[in-house]
Amino acid sequence: MTTDNEPERLALLRFPARADRLKLVRGLVTAAVRMCECDEALERDVVLAVDEACQNVVRHAYPAGVEGDAELEILRDGIVLVFRLRDFGPKVDASCLRPGKLKPNALNGRGLHFIHDIMDEVGCLTPSDGTGNLLEMRKRLNPCGTPRNET
C-alpha cells in the first residue's frame, strides 16, 4: 500500500562501510521499526534484511584497501517503511543483486535471499548524482495500533 506522495523521511544515516558499524545501523533500524509499532518478529526480520544489504556494501562496494561510506535513508510511506541504501563505489549491474538458487549448504549467497524473502519490494534506483549504487527496499508493516502521521 503506497501513496502518491513522496514518502516522509525518518532519518538519514551515513557511516563508514565497515563491519563494526553494522550494530549502529541495527540500533537505528530497530528504533525506526518500533516507531511503526509492528510485532517483534517483523521487527527482527526487517533489521536482518537491512543489515544484510549494508553487509553487501561493506564487503563488495569498495575494492580491498579502499575505504568508503554507506548511506541509509529511512522513509515512511503510510504503513510502508522504505529503506534506501547507497554506496559510492563502482556501478554494479542490477542483475548482481538478484539472488540465485538458495543452497542450504553453501558458504555464501544467503544475504540477497534474506533480503528478498523479507522485503516486499527490492529494486535498484539511480543515485541523484549518478555515482555509486542505490538499493531500495520496501516493507509493509502491520501495526498493532493505528498508524501514526499517515499524511
Binding site: 563491519a19 563494526d20 536482518l48 549448504n105 553453501a106 555464501n108
Partner: protein, 107 residues
C-alpha cells in the same frame, strides 16, 4: 559476541552469545574450527545468541563441513528465538542436527 567453551565427557560444548554478525563471525569461525580440529564431537549452544546473520550462518556451515571431512560431528543446540528465524530463512534445519537443549545434544 561472548563465548564459553567447556568439555563434557567427549563433547566440546561451545556456547556463543550476543551478536554473531559480520564483525564477530571471524572470531566464531576461529573458535569453531579449532574445536572441530581438537574434538570429534562438538555441540554449539546457541541459547545466548541475540542476533545472527548470513555470515554467522556461513560460519556454522563451514565448521560442519570441516568436522565431516574429519569424520567428526558438529551439532547445534538450544537455538534462541531470534536465531531460529534466521535458520528457517536459510533452511538450516535441512543441514544441521539441531537439539532442543544442550542436555539432549550430549545424550
Amino acid at each position: 559476541m561472548k563465548h564459553e567453551i567447556t568439555r563434557q565427557g567427549d563433547v566440546t560444548v561451545i556456547a556463543l552469545g550476543g551478536d554473531v554478525d559480520l564483525e564477530t563471525s571471524p572470531k566464531a569461525r576461529e573458535l569453531l574450527l579449532a574445536a572441530v580440529k581438537d574434538s570429534r564431537r562438538v555441540l554449539v549452544d546457541l541459547s545466548g545468541v541475540s542476533y545472527i546473520d548470513s555470515s554467522g550462518v556461513a560460519t556454522l556451515v563451514e565448521a560442519l563441513q570441516t568436522a565431516r571431512k574429519q569424520r567428526g560431528e558438529l551439532a547445534l543446540a538450544a537455538v534462541s528465538e531470534s536465531a531460529r528465524r534466521v535458520f528457517e530463512l536459510a533452511r538450516l534445519d535441512k543441514v544441521f542436527t539441531i537439539h532442543a537443549t544442550v542436555a539432549e545434544g550430549l545424550g
